[in-house]
């Protein structure tokens, strides 16, 4: 099959990695904008109706309203994020509550969680990836309340995995005794999603 002709002068939008190359996982390139990718319409849950719940076996173990959530200790973090569609954004600044603090409020020994969101999106993670550190329930991005198209009022932030694991519009965590594939995981994406081992697809 003939190879595609080069379109003279065409190149990708983002700047070449250059000095940032060492910080990029394989196959990624940096972007200056913040692409909005979604699998469905942007939910618009009013804050007075918003809750975040931890559930297990059909029961809600603990739940927070927005004011209760805002009362929890939050931290500001600067992290790099990596999307499986190959763009990365370095040095993004978020404010959020460590998921560890939320999980510490319930008794659990479940090995896995399934994050669930308004609109039906789900994603699964080993509990260690959210209960020890490195995971936040984020509500501010770059000093501003998180915009709906980027997952506001609150989203999961798990920067050590591909960004589809950082579920937008998250409303809770279901504790799982057995691992269960979430949305993209059930459509051919990797069950874990470590960008540093380039675990994009099932079987990687």
């Amino acid at each position: 099959m003939a190879t595609s002709p080069v379109s003279r002068g065409f190149h990708r939008l983002s700047r070449p990695a250059g000095a940032d190359a060492a910080k990029l996982p394989p196959g990624q390139h940096t972007t200056t904008d913040f692409p909005v990718l979604s699998a469905g319409p942007t939910p618009r849950t009013p804050l007075q109706e918003w809750t975040f719940s931890i559930r297990h076996g059909g029961k809600t173990l603990r739940s927070w309203t927005w004011p209760q959530f805002q009362d929890l200790p939050a931290e500001t973090v600067t992290v790099d994020i990596h999307c499986v569609t190959r763009w990365s954004k370095l040095g993004t600044v978020w404010r959020g509550v460590p998921v560890r603090l939320l999980l510490d409020q319930v008794e659990h020994d479940a090995p896995y969680v399934l994050a669930f969101s308004d609109g039906g999106y789900t994603t699964n993670l080993p509990i260690k990836d959210v209960s020890v550190g490195g995971a936040w329930l984020a509500f501010d991005y770059e000093g501003q309340p998180l915009a709906p198209e980027h997952g506001g009022p609150a989203r999961l932030l798990v920067p050590h995995l591909y960004f589809w694991k950082s579920a937008k519009w998250v409303r809770g965590l279901e504790l799982l005794d057995h691992d269960q594939a979430g949305f993209w995981e059930s459509y051919g994406y990797n069950n874990y999603g470590d960008p540093w081992r380039e675990q994009r697809y099932a079987g990687d």
């Binding site: 990718l37 699998a39 469905g40 569609t85 459509y187 051919g188 697809y201």
Partner: protein
């Protein structure tokens, strides 16, 4: 950004070998029958998600996994196309 089935005409041509924008799809959840061109489509994510415009259920997901188009049609109960001209 929500678009419609017109934008995936080329992708569906690649998958099905013929134009599918006029094909009528029956939603497995609510039973609505509509041309693929009129479904709600989300592109540019890890995959392309096609939803029923009436109830929002997922009709179809196409993910480009390595060199393959992985197509999940479990949200489509039935698909009707007109026969090709000879």
């Amino acid at each position: 950004m929500a678009l419609d089935g017109n934008v995936i005409g080329g992708l569906l041509l690649e998958i099905f070998g013929s134009d599918m924008t006029s094909a009528r799809a029956t939603c497995a959840v609510c039973g609505t029958v509509s041309p693929v061109a009129e479904t709600t489509v989300y592109i540019r994510g890890p995959g392309t998600v096609v939803r029923c415009r009436r109830c929002g259920s997922v009709l179809m997901v196409v993910a480009r996994i390595r060199e393959l188009n992985c197509v999940d049609l479990s949200g489509v109960a039935a698909l009707e196309t007109t026969r090709a001209d000879e």
